[in-house]
């Protein structure tokens, strides 16, 4: 048989065996091999080598290797109790405050604690009803605002569904234009008042 194509590069023989050669080049190589004894022999040799390359036995890992790796890992860092620091600081500040108060006023710590209890008790008694009222009002305001938002969104969704994306875009542009016109008009009127 006559050789019709040039001999392939040796690296192409390996790429062919690895399936790394494109279909066109692989077909060309196969066609060439048919008519070239030297290349056929070279390919056969590299095929045997390739089979040996990809079947080299793995290195044995001794039993318990993973365990010994785990034992050699550093211990995770013990994170300090983050919440403890402010608590200790607050207690220390209270202690210092009480001692200072005692030194300045001559009142005993017990008297100070009784006075503090009375002060906080009064404060809580005054603040609690107001806080409850404020929470109730905030709840109502939030509910109303939420209902308005939901209604606005559902209206907008319906409009977009009815008009399609182009329609929605047109409305958006119209709203923008109207807004700009209103702002412009206000500025114009303001200038008129100043002059």
């Amino acid at each position: 048989m006559t050789i019709v194509t040039p001999c392939p590069r040796p690296e192409d023989l390996y790429f062919y065996l690895e399936g790394e050669l494109g279909p066109y080049d692989a077909a060309k190589l196969e066609e060439h091999i048919e008519g070239c004894d030297a290349c056929r022999e070279a390919l056969a040799e590299r095929r045997r080598l390739h089979e040996a390359f990809v079947s080299l036995p793995p290195f044995e890992v001794p039993e318990g290797f993973a365990r010994s790796v785990m034992e050699s890992l550093p211990e995770p860092e013990k994170r300090p109790l983050a919440w403890l620091a402010p608590l200790v600081t607050a207690a220390a500040a209270l202690g210092v405050g009480l001692i200072g108060f005692n030194l300045f006023t001559g009142l005993s710590v017990f008297d100070i604690l009784v006075a503090l209890n009375g002060f906080f008790g009064q404060a809580v008694a005054q603040v609690t009803p107001a806080a409850v009222k404020a929470i109730k009002v905030a709840g109502i305001v939030l509910k109303v605002a939420g209902d308005i938002l939901v209604a606005a969104l559902s209206g907008l969704t319906t409009v977009i569904r009815l008009l399609g994306p182009q329609g929605a875009l047109a409305i958006g542009l119209l709203v923008l234009l109207v807004t700009l016109a209103v702002i412009g008009a206000r500025r114009f009127l303001n200038q008129g008042e100043q002059s």
Partner: protein, 186 residues
């Protein structure tokens, strides 16, 4: 791959069992890679242990969009480079042609020549490859091992080593032709 990400995520939350699963999954391929590249089994086991510790300590830097195996082998490859630097082992530049002992550039195109491989059965060929592998420059040997022992794709090796794919392909080919030549000579 998803399994690896889950293990990493759990290990980052302090689950040491999850990291042990990673170790069990990769101990064998990693040791094979290190063993074939260094040619020393005991050193390979020591290196594997050190690499797992390194990986554990820098687990937070692993980005889940990448393959865990590539990340782990990148650590291993850098570990070997450090080892070679310390030992001042002659490594091969990946941008220069490979010379043989006589200072001649090895032929890039191998002559088909008389086939020596035909004389041997597959097992014998493997033994010869293992012996010949130690004579291949470390830089080429590593790429050959990553490709044919660890079965990474050329693209993955290129990513792992920070080299162009074409360079990796060329270097793996050179390693194979060097092996073939050494086997012919033996």
């Amino acid at each position: 791959m998803t399994e690896d990400r889950q293990f990493v995520s759990r290990a980052l939350k302090g689950d040491r069992k999850a990291f042990e699963m990673i170790v069990r999954k990769y101990e064998q391929p990693l040791t094979s890679y290190l063993g074939r590249v260094t040619g020393e089994r005991e050193a390979a086991l020591d290196f594997a242990q050190e690499i797992f510790v390194k990986a554990y300590c820098s687990l937070a830097s692993f980005r889940p969009e990448f393959k865990f195996s590539t990340w782990l082998f990148k650590i291993a490859s850098n570990h070997l480079i450090d080892h070679w630097r310390k030992k001042k082992l002659a490594t091969v530049s990946l941008d220069q042609p490979i010379d043989n002992e006589d200072g001649e550039v090895l032929p890039q195109v191998a002559d088909p020549g008389p086939s020596v491989v035909r004389k041997f059965e597959l097992a014998e060929i493997r033994q010869k490859i293992e012996r010949a592998l130690s004579s291949v420059p470390a830089g080429l040997r590593e790429l050959f091992v990553l490709r044919h022992v660890n079965e990474f794709s050329y693209e993955e090796i290129a990513d792992l080593k920070g080299l162009p794919v074409g360079t990796v392909k060329n270097r793996v080919f050179q390693a194979k032709e060097l092996l073939r030549k050494r086997m012919e000579e033996s």
